[in-house]
């Protein structure tokens, strides 16, 4: 089983890297982009076969290490 974990900054937390990306897009002449936020994607190969157990384990990993819940949120996608 695979887990894809998308870690992103909480809404309201200023994202200097996202701002720089937005500025770069604007300087390239790209329009119609009102905001940019940068996060990270973490992919795990899991030994689990039960999705519920896998989700609970990955959630625990996120809270303990993979995300800093003071400033970040995370979404977990599981696939076979």
């Amino acid at each position: 089983m695979k887990a894809r974990i998308h870690v992103s900054l909480k809404p309201g937390v200023l994202d200097p890297q996202g701002k720089a990306i937005l500025g770069a897009l604007e300087s390239m002449g790209v329009d119609g982009v009102s905001d940019a936020r940068q996060g990270k994607l973490i992919e795990l190969d899991l030994a689990d076969t039960d999705p519920d157990a896998a989700r609970a384990r990955v959630d625990d990993m996120c809270r303990r290490l993979l995300a800093n819940t003071v400033i970040e949120t995370y979404d977990i996608d599981l696939s076979e």
Partner: protein, 230 residues
């Protein structure tokens, strides 16, 4: 004053702070490898030094905060043992939850290595009692992720409980945005735990504690600790 410096893979100011501690206290600190879970019980001070523990991968300090020694560090924090986290050590203290908030990428996105001015906001601590809050002091910073952030209730709590230890200021001591090198909220350069026994700060007092290195403004932090803990 019995001190231990926790050494992580990638720490690079562990020896600098050890030299300063030895110079000020006359005693060698214990250099304690992060993988050793047993800390001596009779420590007066635990230092989490600067550096780039675990290559700053994932988030600065995140992996160091999971090190085997950290459970013992937390137990000693509960007992009121004094702790000083400098730069990466501050990041580790935030990642362990011993200090609130987080340190994000600098506002200008660049790594900054230069001397800055700061001032002690409270002198009612074992770390800052030898500083004059009216005077700007000079210390080096060297970091990519020193932009202190916390939610509004946390910031209010820090202010109400007199837990802001240092703020960035200009040479005249004015706390202004132009003197804020990294975008830290409210120019915060260092904060304290609830009992004022744990200090995390981004500037490096240990790097400016000997006249041969160009200044001694950092030394007063260590002489204050010696007076309080010896």
């Amino acid at each position: 004053m019995k001190a231990a410096v926790i050494v992580f893979p990638g720490s690079n100011c562990d020896r600098d702070v050890a030299v300063t501690l030895r110079d000020v206290t006359g005693l060698d600190p214990r250099m304690h490898w992060h993988a050793d879970p047993d800390l001596p019980k009779d420590l007066d001070l635990i230092v989490l030094p600067g550096g780039f523990s675990h290559g700053d991968y994932l988030r600065c300090g995140a992996m160091a905060a999971q090190a085997p020694v950290i459970a013992a560090v937390k137990r000693q924090a509960e007992r009121g043992v004094a702790m000083l986290g400098i730069c990466n050590g501050f990041q580790v203290l935030c990642e362990t939850g011993l200090l609130p908030g987080a340190l994000m990428r600098n506002r200008g996105l660049t790594y900054i290595c230069k001397d800055v001015h700061l001032k002690a906001v409270t002198t009612d601590t074992i770390f800052t009692s030898h500083y004059d809050p009216a005077k700007a002091i000079r210390m080096p910073i060297a970091h990519h992720d020193g932009n202190y952030v916390a939610d509004l209730p946390t910031l209010c709590m820090l202010e109400d409980e007199d837990r802001v230890a240092f703020r960035y200021c200009d040479a005249a001591g004015r706390v202004v945005d132009e003197a804020n090198p990294n975008g830290s909220t409210a120019n915060i350069a260092g904060i304290l735990s609830e009992n004022h026994r744990i200090l995390g700060m981004m500037p490096h007092p240990e790097r400016l504690a000997d006249p041969r290195l160009g200044g001694t403004d950092g030394r007063a932090l260590f002489t204050a600790l010696l007076e309080a803990l010896a």
